[in-house]
């Protein structure tokens, strides 16, 4: 069920939804969302790579400042500082690599056994919303749990759909269920 989650940026999937908004604002046409959850290594990594406009070194420095925004467009708001605080609260870190005209990589690493590590949340909801609202963006989502992997390419799905848009509600709800069952499978029915 949707609608029951508390009102804050309290899980990993909401952070991902927020960070990807920066890639969309930067006019990316291809966004790679990579999640690697390795509890045996006490490590949870999120990486979001895009081919958007990119940032120069000064902009990269300033996006970690909660009071920074490019103002005219609010391109990057509070998302990065919130994710950074969340990762650092577990003893982890956040890194940004960006190049003007090439794209941006945001990487956050959490210590997953730390008591302050946020739960994964509903990645199927995050992906459904992203794909629905940005049907022209190629999303490449991969999610690893221990040694198992789930992968979804929105481009591949659009290809199978032909003239029907991937943003069609029935299709989006199907994608949501597809991801849900795929993640259940890699998590082996425990947690997720």
């Amino acid at each position: 069920m949707t609608g029951t989650e508390a009102n804050s940026m309290e899980d990993v999937s909401l952070h991902v939804l927020d960070i990807v908004q920066n890639s969309i604002a930067a006019e990316a046409s291809r966004i790679v969302i990579f999640i690697q959850d390795r509890p045996e290594q006490d490590r949870l990594e999120i990486r979001i790579c895009d081919n958007g406009k990119g940032m120069d070194p000064d902009q990269v420095k300033s996006v970690s400042d909660p009071f920074y925004t490019t103002r005219t467009t609010r391109r990057v708001g509070l998302g990065i500082p919130l994710l950074q605080a969340s990762a650092e609260a577990t003893g982890g870190y956040l890194k940004i690599r960006s190049e003007k005209g090439t794209g941006t990589v945001v990487q956050a690493v959490f210590h997953s056994k730390h008591i302050d590590c946020p739960p994964m949340g509903r990645m199927e909801d995050t992906m459904a919303v992203l794909i629905c609202c940005n049907p022209d963006v190629q999303f490449h989502y991969s999610h690893i749990f221990s040694d198992r992997k789930f992968v979804l390419h929105s481009g591949e799905i659009q290809q199978k759909l032909g003239e029907i848009s991937i943003a069609y509600p029935d299709v989006i709800m199907w994608i949501k269920d597809y991801i849900h069952s795929g993640l259940e499978e890699i998590y082996g029915g425990v947690g997720g």
């Binding site: 009102n7 927020d18 908004q21 609010r74 708001g77 459904a128 759909l161 299709v171 199907w174």
Partner: protein, 121 residues
């Protein structure tokens, strides 16, 4: 595990209903999806719209997103554009409110005034 093959079924169904309503101009629903919106619960609101639209088979509706609408304390905010009508802005939306908006406004053309920005201010 669900398989990608099932997608063909969804596609066929979609093709059939798209053919039925080719002539009608569509409604656009826009959800604020900046940090403020997401933190306030924009994701379940957007999914709830999709769920209700699917249930009622309203195939001529597009759900989309925008950035910060400038009034973060009223998030989650939703704008509804219906052809030939003025834009309606809903504030502090929840999954429950979505059900009423879809039934009364999206399907039947009567905005739910008490949820609009005009009533909140």
């Amino acid at each position: 595990m669900k398989s990608l093959e099932e997608l063909e079924e969804v596609r066929q169904k979609a093709l059939d209903s798209v053919k039925l309503r080719k002539s009608r101009a569509g409604t656009r629903i826009v959800v604020g999806m900046a940090t403020c919106g997401i933190a306030a619960g924009a994701r379940p609101v957007l999914l709830s719209f999709l769920d209700e639209i699917k249930k009622r088979n309203l195939g001529d509706v597009i759900v989309s997103q925008t950035g910060c609408m400038g009034t973060c304390r009223l998030e989650p905010m939703v704008e509804v554009y219906r052809p030939g009508e003025e834009k309606v802005t809903y504030v502090k939306m929840t999954a429950d409110k979505v059900k009423r908006v879809v039934t009364e406004h999206i399907a039947n053309g009567h905005p739910v005034i008490e949820y609009t920005i005009g009533s909140a201010e």
